[in-house]
Every structure is written in structure tokens, then in C-alpha cells.
């Protein structure tokens, strides 16, 4: 602690330079935080997918339907415990910017298939009893200010016309990362009113009896419907979610590349700043050594300066990223899971300190190796 004034005085020697270097760290770590949030938003489904759930889609494409009659055949197969189905609706609420996913669901099995979504019993009962009833996720309900009992009008894009629903319940996620942007309504209501595709479903969700048997059961399902007009492609829910992420490009690679470039640039900036800082005060460092301060002390002094800059700048950037994430999804529903997990804050902080160490190490060593006699002569 007694060396703190020396350390602080050195940091504030060139206020603008120190501020700019701290700013570089803050911007880099803020960007890091955003990249982590975006990565998380895209891969959220992969990370939290149920281990014992399979998704059965039409082999040709997800947008091609499957017949409702498959439900009973699936239920008869070995290793399958439960089956439900869903259908994408694609309606617009007031304006196309107000995107949120809407699904026509199998009311009898939806709740049991997704126990991670929490809905009060009375609300679920009211929903089940109302053919025009709907359930909205908390995020979407809050976004549009909906309350239970509200009448929600949607303009159909696939199934044209005006569709109206009675909001009978609002579900919450049991985990922070659960998607609470969905909107569910009765499959029967959709099937009754739609002009085409009657008796079709978008996809099936199957719960297997043993998660270890998932691959075997998936193969059996696809074999069961092989050579039929509606061949299937069955994946675990995790693989299904991952294939969605892949459709948007290699997000992970993109994030790693951008992050890598940012941190490498930061390393060069820090190294250069510290090298200049050391070069400017060679004489002073030599005087410290002449007074009896050890080589190790001089090394640590320079390293500590670099680390403090990284600590303050990195902390500031991550704090801003966290505050930004707390404001929620700024895209209006495209990134429903807009969250910066604590583990990534720690990782970002660790990386900032690592960059601070790496950036300061060469200048610190050159300061340590400084010969007093040569350096004093240069003053």
C-alpha cells in the first residue's frame, strides 16, 4: 500500500494517454460482452435443449408438413414415452417489426412436454377450455403490455385473414435462459379455420423413455416412415437447435475471429503505450534503482500500471455490457435471450488482465534490465 501513491502518480502522469488506453480496454470488453450476448442468443436453444426430446420434421424441409396421423404411429413405437406436435403460424401483431414466434400447439400434451415453462394452474385450465385461448411468454407480454383477459389480434401471413385470441395465461421460464417470447394457441382452432393444410402439423416433438436411446429411437422413427410420401428427419432437440444456428452462418467462428482481432489489437495498443511510458521515464526508473529499489520492484511497478489500466478499462467495459444486457433485447424479438452470463464476465475480466500482463511484460522487462549508469547519463 505504501507504494500506491507512486503507482497512481505514474498512471496520472499523462492523463489523456491513460484515459485513452483505459477507453480502449473498455470498448474492447464492451464489444466482447456484446459478442457473448449475441452468441448466447443464437445458441441458447442448443445450450438448454432437453436431453430426452427429439424433433421429427419432414425430410424435405422444416416448412413441409407431416400428417397428424403420424402421432398414433409414433406413440406405438418402442422407447417413445410422449408425443406432441406444433405448427408455425407466422402472424403479425400490429406491425411487422413486432416479431415474436407463434405456435399452434397440441393443448393436451404441450404442458407435459415442456415442464420448464411455468404456468399457473387456473390460467392453463382457462386456456384449455377456450378454443380461442392463448398463452404468451412473460417477455412478450411485458413487451406489449398484455394482461390476462386481453384480446390479441394477429394478421395471418401464411394462414391469411384476421385471427383473434383471448389471452388466458402468461408463462415464465424456470431458468433465466428459457425463451419467454413464445405465443401458443390451440392447434384445433388453426386447423378448423385454415384454408389449406388441414390435418397437417409442422413437426412432432417426442420424449424418449431413456435419453441414452435417443439416437437409436431417432433412427427407428426415420425408418418407420421411410419410402412414404412424408419421410421424416429426426434429431435430438439440441441438434435441431444447432442446425438453426448453422443456417445463419458460423456465428461461433465469426465471434471468435472478431474477438481475437479486437484483443490482439488491444495487446498491441497496450504494449505500445507501456513501451512509450517506460521510455519516457528511463531516468526516473534509474533513479529509483540508484536509491535502492530492486529490479523486481521496477518490473512490478510497470506491470502493475499495465494491469491497473486493464482492470479499470476491462471492468468498465464489462459493466457497460452488463447494464446494456439488463435493458433487454434491443432488436425487438430477434434475440429473445439477451443475457450476459456471470461466467463470461469472469472470462472477459481474465482475458483483459491477461492482455494487460502480456502488453506490459516486455516494457517491464526492459525497465528491469535497465543499467542505472547508462540511464542516468541519458537524463
Amino acid at each position: 500500500m505504501k507504494f500506491l501513491p507512486l503507482l497512481i502518480a505514474n498512471l496520472f502522469r499523462k492523463k489523456l494517454r491513460t484515459s485513452l488506453t483505459i477507453g480502449s480496454f473498455a470498448v474492447a470488453l464492451f464489444l466482447f460482452g456484446l459478442l457473448v450476448i449475441v452468441r448466447g442468443a443464437f445458441s441458447q436453444g442448443v445450450d438448454i435443449a432437453g436431453a430426452d426430446r427429439l424433433v421429427v420434421i419432414n425430410k424435405t424441409s422444416l416448412i413441409q408438413p407431416l400428417p397428424l396421423s403420424y402421432r398414433d404411429r409414433l406413440l406405438r413405437m418402442d422407447g417413445i414415452k410422449q408425443v406432441t406436435y406444433q405448427n408455425w403460424f407466422g402472424g403479425v401483431y400490429q406491425d411487422e417489426k413486432n416479431f415474436f414466434p407463434q405456435f399452434a400447439v397440441d393443448v393436451a400434451n404441450q404442458r407435459a412436454m415442456y415442464p420448464e415453462f411455468i404456468i399457473p394452474e387456473d390460467q392453463w385450465k382457462a386456456f384449455a377450455e377456450d378454443r380461442e385461448g392463448a398463452i404468451a411468454g412473460q417477455n412478450t407480454a411485458e413487451r406489449f403490455g398484455w394482461k390476462v383477459g386481453d384480446r390479441i389480434p394477429l394478421r395471418g401471413t401464411i394462414y391469411t385473414g384476421s385471427w383473434e385470441f383471448n389471452l388466458r395465461g402468461i408463462y415464465k421460464g424456470s431458468r433465466a435462459q428459457d425463451d419467454t417470447t413464445q405465443f401458443w394457441f390451440h392447434y384445433d382452432y388453426l386447423d378448423e379455420r385454415r384454408a389449406f393444410g388441414k390435418g397437417d402439423v409442422g413437426w412432432y416433438v417426442v420424449r424418449v423413455a431413456e435419453p441414452d436411446l435417443s439416437v437409436k429411437v431417432a433412427k427407428a422413427i426415420d425408418a418407420e416412415f421411410a419410402n412414404s410420401p412424408f419421410e421424416t428427419k429426426t434429431d435430438t432437440e439440441k441438434e435441431f437447435a444447432a442446425s438453426f444456428v448453422k443456417q445463419m452462418g458460423n456465428i461461433e467462428f465469426l465471434i471468435l475471429t472478431v474477438g481475437g482481432v479486437v484483443f490482439f489489437t488491444l495487446l498491441l495498443v497496450t504494449g505500445n503505450t507501456m513501451a512509450i511510458a517506460v521510455r519516457e521515464r528511463i531516468g526516473e526508473l534509474a533513479v529509483l534503482k540508484a536509491l535502492g529499489f530492486s529490479n523486481r520492484f521496477v518490473l512490478l511497478l510497470v506491470m502493475m500500471e499495465s494491469l491497473i489500466v486493464a482492470f479499470v478499462g476491462g471492468g468498465l467495459g464489462l459493466l457497460l455490457a452488463k447494464l446494456f444486457s439488463l435493458r433487454g433485447d434491443p432488436t425487438g424479438g430477434i434475440l429473445p435471450y439477451f443475457y450476459l452470463p456471470p461466467i463470461w464476465i469472469v472470462a472477459g475480466f481474465g482475458t483483459a488482465l491477461l492482455v494487460g500482463t502480456a502488453g506490459g511484460i516486455l516494457p517491464a522487462f526492459s525497465a528491469m534490465r535497465l543499467r542505472v549508469v547508462d540511464a542516468i547519463r541519458r537524463v
Binding site: 505504501k2 507504494f3 501513491p5 507512486l6 502518480a9 505514474n10 496520472f12 502522469r13 531516468g283 526516473e284 533513479v287 529509483l288 534503482k289 540508484a290 536509491l291 535502492g292 529499489f293 530492486s294 529490479n295 542505472v372 549508469v373 542516468i376 537524463v379
Partner: protein, 241 residues
Amino acid sequence: MVRVDGNGGAASLIHVRGLDKKYTRGGEEIHVLQGLNLDVDSGDFVAFMGPSGSGKTTLLNLLGGLDVPSAGTITVAGDEITHMSASKLTDWRARHVGFIFQMYNLIPVLTAFQNVELPLLLTKLSKSDRKKHVETALQLVGLGDRMKHYPRQLSGGQEQRVAIARAIVSDPTFLLCDEPTGDLDRKAADEIMELIGRLVQEYGKTVLMVTHDPAVAKQAQVTLHLEKGSLVDAPEGAGKP
């Protein structure tokens, strides 16, 4: 008593025997010091004079443990410093040597108080004890009212006084002054020399000083001349009691 003939007694504070310092510059070997002998007693005030390149500063650096000789030995208060490791030499400097440089060499971002406090940070003194020592040193050099001033807010003479306070604050065994008045006007130089003289006379400090200025050298008890790497001339009493 100061001697340059290598026959000084064991009671001397500083013994230098057969000191050599060679540099290689541009492939050529330069002998800066050759077989130099010196004995300095505690409380002596010695000035070293000589033309540029005669090795005055080199000798001071060797005596202060900032450089290592090519041959010979330096013993200070019983410690032979020529064979000490770099880290031991650093500790030794902190305990035994007070440096006063021509350009003051204060840390510009620290106040006078903080500059003077620097050597004490290496000791185990408490914060309040350090404060007492620093205040005493600054009052002794006449800057008790300038403690919170930064070097840029002080005149050259005042900066050198702060440097002197920094040199004496840890009560070192001896002071090494390299052209302490070289950057000052006559008046400020006289004040600094008067202060150094007081340190010797009133506080019994041992001072070894390099200077180009005969008027400054006159303040010392003994003036030694360095020529061709040796202390060849001691007209003001070297070798005499």
C-alpha cells in the same frame, strides 16, 4: 584523513585498492581508471576534479555501487562491495549511499514530500515515522513550507535542496554528489554548497563530490585530481592528517 597512496589504516570508512575500470568502445579498449587507491575517513568532505573523461563520474558510480570495476576492491564500512550480487548491492545502496545528481533527478509527478519519502519506503518505518523523518529532512534543507509542491513549482536551487533532503533522509553512511551545482546559478550554487558544508560540519556526514568548478571544490576539506585514470595530485592535503 584522505590518502591516495594505498597506505590508509583499517579504521578508514572507505578503502579503494587497485581500482581498474575499462570500457570497450568501437572495438577500442579505454582504461578510465588504473590502479586507483583511496582511503576516506568518516566525516571527510572530498572533492574530485579533473578534465572531462578523466573518470570522475565513473569513480563516483563505482563508489556508489552503480557500476562494477574491471579489477580492484572497494570496501565501505567493512563491506566489500565489488563482489556483491546485484540484489545485495541494491540493498547496500539503500542503506549506505545518498545520491545527489547534477540534474536533481526528482520524480516530477511526486511532491517534494513524496520524493523525499522514496528511500524510506524501502525501510520498515511506519507511516508516521516516515512523515517525521521527511519533515525533519525538508526543514533541515529549508523547505519545510514547500512539502506539497511539485518539482515544476520549485526553482532549480529548491529542487536540488529536495534532492539533498532525499539523499539524507535515510541517514546513509556517505553522500555522493555528482556536479551538485552544475545546473545552478552562482547564488543558488553557493547556498547548496553552504548546505552540504553544514551537513559535514554539523552532522558529521561523509561527502564525496565531483565538480568542474574550483570555487565549489574549495568548499571541500580535500580536493583530489583525476588524470589518466589515477588520483595523481592532491594539493589541498590528500595524504595528510
